[in-house]
């Protein structure tokens, strides 16, 4: 039974202009007579145009899944119905999304993308988003009946569902070592080892709320991990910035001393840079905070050190419920090179998730839990030692019992002595 193309005067206005138009794409699918998705996309356009006219959304959730998993499908059922409870746009009455995890770093060959298109042409709407804010490929628009066969074919290709609901979520990692000289760690390995160690917690949602991993190879944090991840892994180094003095001189010769002073030297947040009279650069590495600015500007002359590793920050999230939180440092530095190093990272993540599962309230994120119980309780729960790199400054109020002072001070000196050996 052929349905007809609905008039879409408002959406039509989004077909002009220089940026590629998603409306043109939707219409292409809706007009693709003979394809199974054409009727669905005709009605999808009808519902979306209604939203544009009334300025209201008309989807509700529900329960749709694949056999063996408790999450990963985002069910959507239309709420636009007539007085007899019949859908106004029946062909798009079910419009579910499959969240599929991309290869770490979002690399593709065209054969894989074409295969995705073929599967989605057969079972879905023909509409795919690369990528959602969750880091998933979003196959948008699937009937309940077609969810399972679509997933089965993608699963046979080597792709798996991502996270949804109160679960470990799909992770993200930057392009990193694959194409970036700033990379201080193997981002794709950290990403895969973390997420793939917790697939049970991803596919069978049973945590208090979501838990996200994000991995950035340096402090530029292209994955927004401090602001968006419950556990952020950020590449850094602990020896000296590598300086190619000949390239520094070339840069000064090309750009001029004023430019270098104004844009590199005086922009260092800890005044750790000095331009010498012979146009070479001095770096006070003890006071460098690894912010990346000078390296970003002078990509040829400066690069991260050789003794690389990662910093771990925990507790980032957006507004609801208590307000925005950034992740805070819980491990200032750890090496991440050997298999044992990766085992330590997974153990830390396991401890963080276990503590979260046991101590967070329903619908409370890790950062909110830490806000409620205090960072020290969280650190003690995970068996992590306190470190002055975890604070901007020590406490400024006196409401604290310090009767364990001597013991705590002793621990500090013992740790210092152990580190010196």
């Amino acid at each position: 039974m052929a349905n007809k193309l609905h008039d879409t005067p408002l959406l039509d206005q989004l077909e002009s202009g220089p940026w590629p138009s998603f409306v043109t794409g939707l219409k292409r699918l809706a007009n693709d007579e003979g394809k199974t998705y054409a009727p669905m996309m005709k009605d999808l356009l009808g519902q979306l145009e209604t939203s544009y006219r009334t300025r209201k959304g008309y989807w509700k959730g529900g329960t749709v899944g694949v056999i063996g998993y408790g999450g990963g499908i985002i069910p959507r059922f239309t709420e636009l119905k007539d007085e007899n409870d019949k859908a106004l746009f029946p062909e798009a009455a079910e419009f579910h999304t499959l969240r599929i995890m991309p290869p770490a770093g979002m690399h593709y060959d065209t054969a894989t993308l074409r295969k995705f298109c073929d599967i989605w042409e057969k079972y879905g709407s023909g509409l795919i988003a690369f990528h959602g804010q969750s880091g998933d490929i979003m196959f948008q628009g699937c009937s309940t009946a077609n969810v399972q066969p679509a997933f089965d074919e993608m699963n046979e290709m080597g792709f798996d569902l991502g996270g949804a609901g109160p679960a470990v979520r799909t992770g993200m990692s930057c392009v990193g070592a694959a194409r970036c000289e700033h990379s201080c760690t193997n981002e794709q390995r950290a990403h895969r080892e973390l997420v793939n160690s917790f697939l049970d917690d991803m596919h069978r949602p049973a945590l208090p709320y979501k838990f996200k991993f994000k991995v950035s190879g340096c402090a530029n944090d292209c994955m927004n991990s401090i602001q968006r991840a419950d556990m952020a892994v950020i590449g850094t180094w602990r020896d000296d910035i590598q300086v190619d003095q000949a390239e520094v001189k070339n840069y000064v010769a090309a750009k001029g001393r004023k430019y270098v002073i104004d844009n590199v030297i005086t922009r260092c947040p800890t005044n750790a840079l000095s331009l010498n009279d012979d146009d070479t650069l001095d770096v006070d590495n003890k006071n460098c905070v690894r912010c990346m600015h000078c390296i970003n500007v002078m990509t040829k002359a400066l690069s991260p050190g050789n003794d690389k590793g990662v910093s771990i920050l925990i507790g980032g999230k957006r507004t609801l419920k208590i307000g925005d939180l950034m992740g805070t440092v819980v491990v200032p530095f750890m090496k991440l090179e050997t298999d044992e190093d990766y085992e330590k990272l997974i153990e830390l993540a396991q401890n963080a998730i276990d503590f979260f599962a046991e101590n967070a309230l329903e619908h409370e994120r890790t950062g909110e839990m830490i806000e409620r119980i205090g960072l020290v309780n969280f650190l003690e729960g995970l068996g992590l030692d306190v470190d002055p790199n975890m604070v901007n400054q020590p406490r400024t109020n006196s409401y604290i019992r310090t009767d364990g002072w001597d013991e705590e001070a002793k621990k500090w000196f013992e740790r210092k002595a152990a580190a010196a050996n």
Binding site: P20, V23, V66, H107, D152, V175, G323, E362
Partner: protein, 356 residues
């Protein structure tokens, strides 16, 4: 009947089988990069290998024809591999400089803008909106399309002091995240409750617990168990709506758009920053949201004219101060800009540092 197929829990795929061969060969061995022109990166490996990356904007929500077209371009003009950035730009990698211009020409011919690198306004990070979300007050793809049409020139050039990341969000959960400029829904009226449905649809204690200001309490309404709101306490955040759809927060007129500036995820120079409210009360004016575009363009014009090289919007405002920001942009400063949430005192000026 045969046993159902159980999933293969393969997790995140290994990227190496999908990766461009020059990237694979030089993994972890890159030396430096340059930007030969807007939209193009040139990375040099320690081995001496070079790879050129051409970055193009997409509409993110792509039909299979668009994806196949992008694949055809990759097969004909690049080397069969692509990747996507987290802001939905597509990147093509080629191993020889001679392939760059024909690739650019092919992409431009099909309508894909080349840019988004260095100090440009790159693609707006993008949520679901009316197309697919169950709680949106506005659309996402349409807002992004409308704004990127307006900002196209700033995508294809590298004329900004530093990179500009714009985000959009269709509710106050803010899936779009922090941005140099964030365009987010800000509801202005408490939810309208359909008391006939609450008892059947909502787990009332969970809904009470979701409210950040404890404004929701259980109540009997018309003889049915329901919920009521202390409207004086309500901050109109919409947190109750996802767990309880009969508490409708979205309103065609009263769900407004607010603009926030100065968010920054990078640690370069300053520590990461949250974005700060600068404008609110803008109408949710589909299909092109002209009032929002006007404010965004005004902020960008002032930033472009006044900021120093390498200053992100947040860095720039920290240097010039908020009084000057409101003066330069012509935006009103109101009582709503003053933070009264817990911890908000750190946002007040506890000093004699005053700008005149």
């Amino acid at each position: 009947m045969s046993a159902p197929r159980m999933p293969i829990e393969s997790g995140v795929p290994d990227p190496f089988p999908f990766m461009h061969p020059v990237l694979k060969k030089n993994f972890g061995q890159w030396k430096y990069h340059e930007r030969p022109r807007p939209g193009v990166l040139m990375h040099v490996a320690k081995s001496g290998d070079k790879v050129w990356t051409v970055r193009a904007g997409t509409q993110r929500q792509m039909d299979v024809y668009t994806i196949r077209k992008l694949c055809d371009i990759a097969d004909k003009f690049a080397e069969g591999h692509v990747r996507f950035t987290m802001r939905s730009n597509i990147e093509y990698m080629v191993s020889s400089e001679a392939k760059v211009q024909p690739l650019i020409d092919a992409l431009q011919k099909e309508g894909f803008p080349i840019g988004g690198t260095g100090p440009s306004v790159t693609m707006i990070s993008h949520t679901q909106g009316w197309l697919h979300c169950d709680i949106p007050a506005t659309d996402a793809s349409g807002v992004v399309k409308a704004l990127m049409d307006e900002l196209h020139e700033e995508f294809v050039k590298e004329d900004m002091p530093n990179r500009v990341h714009i985000t959009t969000s269709c509710c106050q959960i803010n899936c779009g995240g922090q941005g140099d400029i964030a365009i987010n829904i800000q509801h202005t009226k408490p939810p309208k409750i359909n008391h006939d449905l609450v008892a059947n649809v909502c787990e009332r204690p969970s809904v009470v617990a979701r409210c950040p200001v404890a404004a929701i309490r259980p109540a009997m309404v018309n003889g049915k168990p329901s919920l009521e709101i202390d409207e004086k306490k309500c901050v109109c955040c919409g947190a109750c709506f996802p767990p309880c759809p009969p508490m409708q927060i979205n309103d065609p007129e009263h769900s407004k758009l607010a603009i926030w500036v100065g968010g920054k995820h990078s640690n370069a120079r300053s520590k990461p920053m949250f974005h700060k409210l600068v404008a609110a009360g803008l109408p949710n004016n589909a299909p092109r949201w002209p009032e929002v575009a006007a404010v965004v363009k005004k902020i960008l014009a002032v930033y472009k004219a006044d900021a120093k090289d390498w200053e992100r919007i947040g860095d720039w405002v920290e240097r010039i101060g908020w009084p000057r920001f409101f003066e330069l942009t012509g935006l009103p400063f109101t009582k709503y800009h003053i933070d009264n949430w817990r911890g908000g005192r750190v946002n007040l000026n506890a000093s004699a540092h005053i700008r005149f």
